[in-house]
Symmetry: C2
Subunit: 424 residues, 2 copies
């Protein structure tokens, strides 16, 4: 029997009515002849409410206990979903992450899945049950502590289960119809993407698209699991994320550009007046890295020949800003730079498409679109299938719309090109 | 180092402020040189809220999934208590029932503890941590399913942990000052009992006193664990439940009567016109027992010689009333009785005291008090240390007050007699 893994997020499980609707969908999937395994998030705002409670009793709660607390949210929703399914006449069994065999490392709050040993799941499927698994959580190898995978982790739970069970597809249910060419709240003419490669989805997720958890895409890519991102509020087909050939084979031409992503979660740090000597940049980034901060883009200005000084700018998550500035202040005298500037009024725009590899004109069109829209570019970084720029925060929406239009992605500008190629 | 086990109920953990107060009390116990293990219930009304949610998605939720759901409540409170303790500068580790080694049978909703394997608890104590355990829950032997112990089960968790850890005392914190000679809401002059034997406490708990879960007293008696019932809202000494000699040794005389309990949770079923032949009663009670109903008191009237018919009355939990009536109706033709009467307007009053064994005057005083108060007695049952009667529901409060006064239990009628004997 084919195995379908489904994931339902908190917005699809907001209240008893939503849970019943989700249960009907799960039962329908079972009825059409599939074994069904479901990963669920906590209901609606449960996670935020639990975080608030934690804050009330302790400003800096120990990570181990915070994980204990947070995992209760999924335990509640999984049991309720199982009850709602059984009320429809199907048998369902819920399992905690630990019971489901989701083995992680021991990093509380952002644990990584090391292995999945789904013995209890396959046993339950063999008995004809529908299986509901608490998402977002696991148990640490060896120490057997309860861990969580970080925000959005239930996507990863679902894909990891799909990989371990050799499922035919992993369906990620959310409150939008799929992955769009841009955020529809900013670009009303954005189009739903029919098919997208793992590589492109990875770049979109890393560039600010919030539809899929980055780690879940990495996991799906590694284990070659097709993901179907779709709405739990409709029956429409959503977006297929896969490197496998589509139903049309290789014949249909793929679009050059998959979509435009934007990100307002980063800030920019500029270290001013760094002596232009070997090892200075290394010293700066070592200090920041030691503070466990993930740096995104980096730009080092060409040294002005008359001063022997240079400026180094980098972007990082806003939440890590204070820690980064503090760690830099500690090495200021040693390195001998002039000043640290911190700027959180920036936005990042990224254009993603596997087709840009073989289309050298992409960057020219991209920069012309931004120039015509009056958007000044502060930093640039590129990968083989992505161009990202940093702009002023208040120009970001205009920039996204200008680029979206320039690449013919607006839904009014022609029909959606169905991607069906494997050659990308 | 002495080990103290504490239990905090939902009313002591109603909100963040209550949790912080409980955390301070736990930290103080640690500070005075004890290893501390704490069993916690779900916060305030959490259990009822989760039950409501379950009802919304399924009128008859599967017991396994209901247990999965309910256990989330204790997981939330245990993590919050651990956080609040760590905020005071002490290290705390929380464990689910399963992690704490609470092994039960597989009866969802009212599982019995079979064994406690507290390896992780002793390891954590050895490292100097305060241990917080989710009450009310365990994991079934063999099948490893999450189970719950039924309402009030956290008392039993605490006593079972105390037994497994050979703790010096098990402190049950609640919202009253201890066990009283009667319910203070009905008898304002009721006195707090200083010391009470396990046997008396068992009879009180079985007769409607709600301060301690019946099963926890059975457990404490079997493993000889002293229980200290006290308020989490004050520093007062509460009630010590133990068969061990008190600080005064055997010299002080124990009171004859421990207290008066009442119970409004039962109903009375009368089977009218039963043919007075051998085996008729057996057939009736077999039918009721097969419906998994616990019968409390039974009275069979003497057969009227002219008719050859008799009446049989018994009491049972009100919740089981419909099932009992239904099971009797099924055997009515076969047994040939005339009618079934169902009466839920009854109350039960119980007088409990180990001293009545050697004081034959107790029952005379008891019945005289009831007669003087104008209370008609419908059924009577006795044990060696208890007399129980069934009265009309609306006379129950008067009856309790009359009996309480007749045995000199009112606090104004002389000082409390401290129990210190072992001979009882």
């Amino acid at each position: 029997m084919p195995i379908v893994v489904q994931k339902y997020g908190g917005s699809s499980l907001a209240d008893a009515e939503s849970i019943k609707r989700v249960a009907r969908r799960i039962a329908d999937t079972k009825k059409t002849g599939n074994d069904v395994v479901v990963a669920v998030s906590a209901m609606g705002d449960t996670t935020d409410e639990l975080l608030d409670l934690a804050q009330e009793v302790s400003p800096v709660p120990p990570p181990r206990e915070l994980d204990m607390l947070m995992t209760a949210g999924e335990r509640i929703s999984m049991a309720l979903v199982a009850m709602a399914i059984s009320d429809l006449g199907y048998s369902a069994r819920s399992f905690t992450g630990s019971q489901a065999g989701v083995i992680t490392d021991g990093v509380h709050g952002k644990a990584k899945i090391i292995d999945v040993t789904p013995g209890r799941i396959t046993e339950a499927l063999g008995k004809g049950h529908i299986v509901i698994v608490a998402g977002f959580q696991g148990v640490s190898q060896g120490t057997k502590e309860i861990t969580t995978l970080g925000r959005g982790g239930t996507d990863t739970t679902a894909v990891a289960l799909a990989a371990a069970l050799r499922a035919d597809v992993c369906e990620i249910y959310t409150d939008v119809d799929g992955v769009f060419t841009a955020d529809p709240r900013i670009v009303p003419s954005a189009r739903k993407i029919e098919r997208i490669t793992n590589e492109e989805m990875l770049e979109l997720a890393a560039s600010g698209s919030k539809v899929l958890h980055l780690r879940s895409v990495e996991y799906a890519r590694r284990f070659d699991i097709p993901i179907h991102v779709r709405s739990s509020f409709s029956q429409k087909t959503g977006t297929i994320v896969t490197d496998q050939p589509g139903p049309e084979g290789d014949a249909v031409e793929a679009p050059i550009i998959a979509g435009v992503a934007h990100d307002r979660s980063e800030a920019k740090v500029t270290v001013v007046g760094v002596p232009d000597r070997t090892g200075m940049a290394a010293q700066i980034f070592e200090a920041v890295t030691l503070a466990q901060i993930n740096i995104d883009m980096i730009v080092q200005n060409v040294s002005a020949t008359d001063t022997g000084l240079t400026d180094i700018s980098f972007t990082l998550p806003k939440a890590d800003g204070p820690a980064a500035v503090e760690s830099l202040q500690r090495i200021q005298d040693e390195v001998g730079f002039t000043a640290i500037q911190y700027d959180d009024q920036i936005g990042k725009l990224s254009l993603v498409g596997a087709g840009m590899r073989s289309n050298p004109g992409v960057s020219a069109t991209f920069f012309k679109a931004l120039a015509n829209a009056g958007v000044n570019i502060e930093m640039i970084s590129t990968s083989e299938i992505r161009i990202s720029v940093i702009t002023r925060d208040d120009l970001l929406d205009d920039a996204v719309r200008a680029v979206h239009t320039a690449f013919g992605l607006d839904s009014s500008e022609g029909e959606a090109v169905v991607y069906g190629g494997t050659g990308r």
